[in-house]
């Protein structure tokens, strides 16, 4: 995840992209060393990867929670998973909104290998999440807290409009923690 591909991407922050830069991208690739993305592009890419991971974690927990693979003897699985779904769905939806906004700030030149939505090989796949509902919620809680902190650490490296988006997303993720805390208390 740390080794970001050296693709030609530019930030949407300025929105004053010279057309020549876009038009010339086909020929530049034959030069000896591919250009390195600017640091602000790398920080945006890492934020996008972090949101993709959070979404994959929520999706994995929701899949486990509503699936049939629940181990027996865990109280009332059907009720628990319905409660869990109701609780987690809005948080997952917010992460998807985060991802959409982050992606909108990254302009990928047409013809570049990174054009369009990232290929599935670029997304983290299905992460391993705890099977027991309480453990899964605790796992998400820790992940939210870490994600909120990581997002704050990206602030110094981002142009102002992107920094504001990072700060807002970090705050949103921080507000997910008490929601998951409440779920943990409810789960006993």
């Amino acid at each position: 995840m740390a080794a970001l591909p050296t693709r030609r991407v530019v930030l949407a922050a300025g929105a004053t992209l010279p057309l020549a830069a876009m038009a010339g991208c086909g020929g530049v690739d034959v030069l000896a060393a591919p250009p390195r993305p600017a640091p602000d592009v790398e920080v945006l890419r890492s934020a996008i990867a972090a949101e993709q991971l959070m979404i994959a974690r929520y999706a994995a927990v929701l899949r486990d929670g509503s699936g049939s693979a629940r181990p027996a003897g865990g109280g009332s699985p059907a009720t628990m998973s319905a409660d869990l779904d109701r609780l987690l769905a809005p948080l997952l939806a917010q992460h998807k909104a985060h991802l959409a906004q982050l992606r909108s700030r990254l302009i990928v030149p047409a013809g570049s290998r990174a054009a369009g939505p990232p290929p599935s090989g670029h997304s983290p796949g299905t992460p391993t999440v705890p099977a027991a509902p309480a453990a899964a919620v605790a796992f998400l809680r820790a992940a939210e807290q870490a994600a909120a902190t990581a997002m704050l650490n990206r602030l110094p490296h981002a142009p102002a409009p992107v920094a504001q988006l990072f700060a807002s997303i970090s705050a949103s993720e921080a507000t997910h923690v008490p929601v998951l805390d409440a779920a943990l208390r409810a789960a006993g």
Partner: protein
């Protein structure tokens, strides 16, 4: 040492606007608390203290930049009339939303320390707003106009 010349004019203006939002929140939380009882009232008192503390921090930041903090007004026009506990909660949410927007202004500045301060205050306000609202939002402090309309729905 860090005289006014060290801070671009936008810094002082953004700090003053955050201070004005905090002073308004301090005043507003007085009204919020007066209309609540029990644990919501305790939350309102905690909010009042948090906003007073933040206002003090902003005043110190302004003074360290050689700027005179703008004094709080004696009273503020409230955005809504508060006569019930539910209206008090609505007011608290509005106050926190305004605070969030003011701190996003600080996040736009170039100073890493001020950005961090703004982001932490934004988080604190978002946590209080979510507690009052009983739900969370995707983009605390960001107006809809700052958000790109998604070109297509991504899964």
């Amino acid at each position: 040492m860090s005289g006014p010349a060290a801070s671009p004019p936008g810094t002082v203006a953004a700090l003053q606007s955050a201070l004005a939002a905090e002073e308004a929140a301090v005043y507003g939380y007085g009204i919020v608390g007066a209309n609540l009882t029990g644990s919501p009232q305790a939350a309102a008192k905690a909010g009042w203290v948090a906003h007073q503390t933040a206002a003090d921090a902003l005043e110190a930041m302004l003074q360290s930049r050689g700027a005179q903090p703008t004094a709080a007004a004696a009273g503020y026009l409230l955005p809504i009339t508060v006569r019930s506990d539910s209206e008090a909660v609505s007011l608290a949410v509005i106050l926190e939303d305004r605070i969030e927007a003011a701190y996003l202004g600080l996040v736009a500045l170039n100073s890493t320390a001020i950005r961090q301060f703004g982001a932490l205050q934004l988080r604190a306000a978002a946590l209080r707003a979510a507690a009052w609202r009983g739900s969370t939002v995707a983009f605390p402090g960001l107006p809809a106009s700052a958000l790109a309309a998604p070109q297509r729905h991504e899964s």
